[in-house]
């Protein structure tokens, strides 16, 4: 987690947004000290609901910059993910992925690693950038937690994007690996060493499979009207003067 938060903090600083306008909703609890250091508002939501929660925050106060940290491979929140993408809600989703566990050291044995695996290894994982792209995200990128510079650049760029942006970060999740320090450090190195940067690659080709390299990079960067934009456009068109455009200074 830590390299990601560092990247995030640097992103906020470089982009130059007032931290108090940044609001993080997350499935993963942050350390209180970290939040206080970042100077943001932080909401630890129920599992999987952070994107829906963030949608509420953003719509009720469009001046906020809402960032979501999503763990658990979006399993519970997959639906909120695809729909927020479709609406092009102005949210930045940082998807912390730790799923390739079964890959290291070959196949798992029934007694040990699989029990730690958040995902049974006989299932194929999502290709997150492709899914995000196909449901309409305007920005998708993937990095490992060790690509610190690239991650910071991506965070800075994505904070400035108008629309649904997704950054997938491959990183061992602390919850599943408690007490197995050895694996944790190995895994993160494994990701880094096996990755290859291919900016602008078609997201459909960046699926992660047990064979081959992990493709990282920035895959999507496009423009689409956000939810609030199209809301205002459509309603002004229909209602004319009677409509109070949404998302003014005070929401």
């Amino acid at each position: 987690m830590n390299p990601i938060i560092t990247g995030f903090a640097k992103g906020i600083e470089r982009f130059g947004i007032e931290p108090s306008r940044v609001c993080v909703a997350s499935d993963i609890p942050f350390e209180p000290e970290v939040v206080s250091h970042l100077g943001i508002d932080f909401f630890h939501t129920t599992r999987g609901r952070s994107i829906a929660f963030g949608t509420g925050l953003k719509l009720a106060n469009p001046t906020l910059r809402v960032v979501l940290f999503v763990g658990d491979l979006m399993t519970l929140g997959g639906n909120h993910f695809v729909h927020a993408g479709r609406r092009n809600m102005e949210l930045l989703v940082i998807c912390v992925n730790n799923f390739v566990y079964g890959k290291i050291g070959g196949q798992p044995t029934p007694s040990t690693p699989i029990t730690f695996s958040p995902y049974a290894t006989f299932e194929e994982p999502f290709n997150v950038p492709h899914l995000a792209n196909s449901c309409g995200a305007v920005y998708t990128a993937r990095w490992t937690a060790l690509h610190t510079d690239e991650l910071t650049i991506s965070m800075t760029e994505a904070l400035g994007k108008q629309g649904f942006s997704v950054i997938e970060v491959l990183s061992p999740g602390p919850n599943y690996y408690k007490g197995i320090k050895e694996i944790e450090s190995n895994l993160i190195d494994f990701y880094f060493e096996n990755s290859v940067i291919k900016n602008g690659e078609d997201p459909r080709n960046v699926g992660i499979s047990p064979e081959g390299k992990i493709v990282v990079g920035k895959f999507t960067d496009k423009e689409r009207p956000t939810f609030i934009d199209s809301y205002n456009t459509q309603l002004t068109k229909v209602l004319g003067d009677k409509f109070i455009p949404y998302g003014g200074k005070n929401g």
Binding site: H44, T46, R47, G48, T75, L76, G78, P110, S111, I114, T115, P118, Y119, A120, E123
Partner: protein, 399 residues
């Protein structure tokens, strides 16, 4: 009743945690399907099942959330498998909608809830008993359900089998309301030989194929089942339906359908409910408890008896249906009921209701101390004995 299939039964004496015992119980009961989603502190049940699945040829799936876990479970049960899912507080809340579907389709299945401290995310790795009322009332609409509450790994094993038997017998989802403490507690568990484990077979329909009515009730008021894929071509729906399973949107059908679902359990409540009593014959104080708190209750009772206080214990094995009659009977004899719970008052309201003002009710809420410390209970017993006048309402014990 029939005997269990020896395949998959680890007969003998083991040192198992509650979670492991639960899985062994499920396998002994012939359960061959598990669908779940990882959640603390129910994760061990899932892991154990996954580890045991290859050995017994069981099917396991980790779904995308708890909603789909229970939906998949219901689907699997209709193929003829016995199935189980395990979860905890937040997951249990997500299952509520499809628990209602299970009730409406009268699908036998077992839902293990390893209760943790709530509400919301609460404390994921600490025990609680805050979902007891939810088990009975958590889904919308009227229904009745069976809930069991084990207090030890041995009971996790036994009650899991009992839960499967009850669910097959009455065609109703059964909730096994365990808690983090029991699920993680490691104790001796005796697994009897298969020949001594009695199982309730599924109540299959045995008539001509074209005459099958999925919701026609037999003499016990329970409808008969068939498996998918055998040419019965039946239809079932979550809408209010008649005997054929076809939806009819009328108040008569609603009365027929839903009242039958409620009656099915209420009519057999006396047969379903089970309590364990200890020294209630001459007791002036009776501790009503369930699950892990009953361990403390028994300890407190013994200590109190040693110092000459006439204390008895009523341990609820089935929390739902609630043993109304037994509590009402006891209320007339005793001075007070003591109800320790790891929540801020749930089952105590039921005890209050069923004692009809005949006994004082003392409630001991979520303790600050470890669950197995009987001190609070002992001093509450002393207080209750000292109390001379009958008092209405729940007296909350002050530490």
């Amino acid at each position: 009743m029939m005997k269990a299939n020896p395949k998959g039964i680890l007969s003998g004496t083991h040192n198992l945690s509650g979670s492991e015992a639960c899985v062994e119980g499920a396998l002994a009961a012939g359960c061959r399907f598990f669908s779940g989603y990882p959640i603390q502190p129910a994760i061990e049940i899932m892991q154990r099942f996954l580890a045991r699945a290859p050995q017994v040829g069981a099917t396991f799936i980790q779904m995308e959330d708890e909603i789909s876990a229970i939906a998949a479970l219901l689907g699997a049960v209709w193929t003829g498998k016995k199935g189980v899912t395990a979860t905890s507080g937040p997951g249990f809340s997500l299952m509520m909608e499809n628990l209602g579907l299970g009730v409406m389709l009268e699908t036998p299945c077992v839902i293990v809830n390893v209760q943790r401290a709530g509400p919301s995310t609460g404390i994921p790795n600490r025990p609680g008993q805050g979902d007891m009322m939810q088990a009975r009332w958590g889904s919308h609409g009227d229904y009745e359900i069976i809930a069991l509450s084990p207090s030890s790994p041995q009971e996790m094993f036994d009650f899991t089998i009992k839960a499967f038997n009850l669910s097959e017998r009455y065609r109703v989802p059964v909730a096994l309301m365990s808690d983090e403490y029991v699920a993680h507690l490691r104790e001796k568990v005796v697994i009897s030989p298969a020949s001594e484990i009695k199982l309730e077979p599924r109540r299959y329909y045995e008539g001509p194929k074209d005459k099958y009515l999925p919701f026609k009730r037999d003499e016990d008021f329970v409808p008969r089942m068939v498996d998918i894929g055998n040419g019965y071509k039946f239809h079932v729906t979550g809408l209010t339906h008649d005997e054929r399973g076809y939806p009819i949107m009328s108040e008569e059908c609603q009365e027929f359908n839903v009242h039958s679902i409620v009656r099915k359990i209420r009519r057999h409540a006396d047969r379903i409910f089970e309590v364990q009593e200890a020294e209630t014959d001459d007791a002036e104080i009776v501790i009503v408890s369930y699950g892990v708190t009953s361990r403390v209750a028994l300890k407190a009772m013994e200590q109190a008896r040693e110092s000459g206080m006439r204390v008895g214990s009523l341990k609820l094995i089935t929390v739902w249906p609630f043993p109304e009659k037994r509590v009402a009977e006891l209320a007339k004899k005793v001075k007070a009921f003591l109800v320790p719970e790891m929540n801020y008052g749930q089952i105590v309201f039921e005890v209050e209701r069923c004692s009809y003002g005949n006994a004082n009710i003392v409630f001991i809420p979520y303790g600050e101390k470890e669950v197995d410390d009987p001190d609070d209970l002992l001093s509450a017993i002393k207080q209750a004995i000292r109390e001379k006048k009958p008092r209405k309402g729940i007296i909350e014990y002050n530490k």
